[in-house]
């Protein structure tokens, strides 16, 4: 048997010459790919390369313009997502698809609820299913909790539990770790490996290189809607993937910018506290990048939201350049924060890129609050180009952009506000490696211009690579400050997981 024949015989699903356009915008151009049982097939590619779209074609959400989906050797036409699921194709989408107002148990059995006679919901069975499904992924979540009360990581676990509960033959995961902390991500990867060993075919999308090299049996790289290369476990390397993705060589990803001698203290936080955060104090100098590490739920976002004036503190104060910042007008003091969730907290999906960059800034604005679309386009262009936003134009609606490009739009707005303190909450979540490098460069650039930068990230290499100093949070308080030689991955994890006493302060 030749290798090709073997693929033919073993593929659980195969995509054949898939082509798909939105309006006049071609997104996929003849993509072919197969997935065998018992392998982890990683799909990589820049933001907007068409990965999510390919998944949506595979799972019956979009119909392809051309080409076919082949399951067990027979071409199929899915009538909808339910159809694909019935054929054993389960998917975890990039965007969370849970119903926030329903409980975890309700969500876990959504669409396939156990019934008694006359359509009656069998609540006991539903709960039992839920407990079993949660157990499978090792999540200690009360099935009676409403999903709205879970944090992103917990919600992601619920989604995975739900997908697995159907005992699929093929599981597709679209950036499952994007919203997870390192610890959670590791657990997830363990689960993925187990599932592979159980014989599942896994199609896995991720932008995290370490993850890809750790888990992939095969990697397919998409670029601009075409397959730019496929490599197997034996011949894959980070460099090869990146080069195939970006079409150029990316060097020194975590390049620590040139920082001058420490300048004056720019941001000073003293005893800032609220219901969700215990009193915290720290300061950041002009031109310094301070990392904020911790496991999910450690309170990093909450603390920064207080600093940025998003939420009201119950005590403490924030000073910028020696002046006390009024919490309700933190922006006026020059504090700008990139929020954690771009879709719900950041972007106006129905508005254009130009509008999104200019909103809340002084861009495109004339006397007496006059403005026009042309003015805003003109003002936003420089930012959009610097961020290398991939779009058909500045009039394109942000809702139509890929996740990574959406993130860049949001970042563009933050920079357009000319901050003196810039807080970035997971700035590279769901962002491809090329764009990451762009973002890191921008962070360094901002710091070089004297901006005080606070960086929250769940990717440790990112924090360690970029930050001059790292604060570690645990249990809603700052428990450690690491710098210089103490700044190691091991130290951060030790403090973040609470395996040391809190530092005396």
């Amino acid at each position: 048997m030749t290798a090709a024949q073997q693929v033919q015989a073993e593929a659980a699903v195969r995509l054949d010459g898939i082509t798909k356009s939105f309006a006049a915008n071609p997104v996929l151009r003849g993509v072919s790919l197969d997935l065998r049982p018992g392998e982890v097939h990683v799909l990589a590619g820049e933001n907007g390369a068409g990965k999510s779209t390919l998944i949506k074609v595979l799972t019956g959400i979009h119909a392809p313009d051309d080409g076919q989906v082949v399951v067990d050797g027979a071409p199929v036409r899915f009538a909808g997502p339910g159809d694909a699921r019935r054929r054993g194709l389960a998917v975890i989408h990039q965007e969370l698809s849970l119903v926030p107002e329903l409980t975890v148990a309700d969500n876990l059995v959504l669409g396939r609820e156990p019934r008694r006679r006359a359509g009656r919901l069998d609540r006991r069975a539903a709960r039992a299913h839920a407990v079993a499904a949660l157990d499978r992924v090792g999540a200690a979540i009360d099935p009676g909790t409403r999903v709205a009360e879970l944090n992103t990581g917990q919600q992601q676990l619920v989604e995975i539990a739900r997908a697995l509960a159907e005992r699929p033959r093929v599981l597709v995961l679209d950036e499952p770790t994007a919203a997870l902390s390192d610890e959670e991500a590791r657990t997830l990867l363990r689960i993925v490996a187990e599932l592979r060993d159980e014989g599942l075919g896994l199609l896995y999308i991720s932008h995290r290189m370490a993850e890809i090299t750790a888990i992939a049996d095969r990697v397919t790289v998409l670029r601009d809607g075409c397959v730019a290369g496929t490599m197997t476990r034996d011949d894959l390397s980070e460099d090869r993937i990146v080069t195939a993705m970006v079409g150029r060589v990316v060097e020194n990803l975590y390049q620590h910018g040139d920082r001058g001698i420490p300048a004056d203290i720019r941001l000073r936080v003293e005893g800032l506290t609220s219901a969700a955060v215990r009193p915290c104090s720290f300061d950041v100098r002009a031109g310094e990048v301070v990392g904020l590490a911790g496991i999910v739920g450690a309170g990093r976002s909450e603390l920064c939201r207080l600093v940025a004036g998003f939420d009201r503190p119950s005590g403490g104060q924030v000073t910028v350049d020696g002046r006390v910042a009024d919490p309700s007008r933190a922006t006026a003091a020059g504090i700008v924060m990139l929020p954690e969730s771009r879709k719900t907290q950041g972007l106006f999906l129905q508005m254009s890129i130009g509008d999104n960059v200019c909103l809340g800034t002084d861009l495109g604005r004339r006397a007496f609050g006059r403005t026009s679309a042309a003015l805003r386009r003109q003002a936003a262009r420089g930012y959009a180009e610097r961020m290398r936003i991939k779009a058909t134009g500045l009039d394109q609606r942000v809702g139509e952009l890929s996740g990574g490009n959406q993130q860049k739009v949001l970042l563009a707005r933050c920079l357009a506000r000319r901050p003196s303190v810039l807080i970035l909450d997971e700035p590279t979540r769901g962002v491809d490696i090329g764009a990451k490098a762009d973002i890191y460069e921008l962070v360094n650039e901002a710091a070089a211009q004297g901006v005080a930068v606070v960086l929250i990230s769940s990717e440790l290499p990112e924090v360690l690579g970029l930050a001059d100093r790292v604060l570690v949070m645990s249990g809603r308080a700052i428990v450690a400050e690491l710098a210089g030689t103490a700044l190691t991955e091991e130290n951060v994890i030790r403090h973040a997981t609470g395996r040391t006493e809190p530092l005396p302060r």
Partner: protein
Amino acid sequence: MGSIVLTDRPPLRRAKRVTDWLGVSGALVVLVLLFAIVAPYFFTVENVLDIARQIAVTAILGAGLTFVIVTAGIDLSVGSAVGVTAFTAVVLALHGVPAPLALLAALAAGAIVGLVNGVLVARLGLAPFIVTLAALTYLRGITYVGTNGTTLFSTELSYAALGSGTVAGVPIPVLIMAAVFAAGWYLLNRTVFGRWVYAVGGNAEAARLAGIPVRRVLLAVYVLAGLCAAIGGIITSARLQSSVPDLGTGYELSAIAAVVLGGTSLMGGRGSLVGTFLGAAIMGVLVNGMTLLNISSFYQQIIQGAVIVVAVGLDRLRTPSGGTQ
């Protein structure tokens, strides 16, 4: 498999559930106490049953609307549907059709009204507000054309007992209301369909991806609203022993007010029938009490408006979140 570090969560949410109707039930208690003190006759069995009978139709319309509103829809046509279904029942009954058949026909008419709304919303994806606003208009037109603008009435209306009869002293409309709420509660809280209704309202896209037949769920809730409107039409026409062409005008607003007072969110995904009942009760108690006190109807309107604001405002105070929903 390794366990995952998850934060402990304060049992904050659960407690909230219980007080979901705090504002409206608080306001209701205050009003009842107030009227019981100042209005003689208010707190008599007869008067309480009277209030129950008077709110029955609003509450029943509200029950149907609760389903629609939980899916993030709205139905402005229920008032006009009361008119057209009442006409259907009365005209058939007066032409000698046996009462059960006439009532079935009225229910069928209500279901058809709901089906048309549902198809336009679920299949064509039109906005519920505008679809049912159009229905409000054309259904009224149909009733006028059908009745030729006249009142159809008969002292011998075969099913008049449904409006004015009692069983063991309890007015039949009250019993019908109880039955509708019991069935509705079961449907919404104990069946798979009920979960789907919440899911569609909470996140239609997620529901679709989960394989829930979103369109059929939408269709069903509008049909339910139409059926409830038909029940309302039957009760009202039985009580009036007639079909009046403009019957039901404006009922949609009282019913929606009851639903929203009861804490159901117009954004969908959240709501309850118990709340709707409380919402209808508060409006009924208010009108009854003020009439007993012989307050001028001009002032009654002002007070009603104010009570609505205060009741939903109280509800809001316990969740001190800023901004908009």
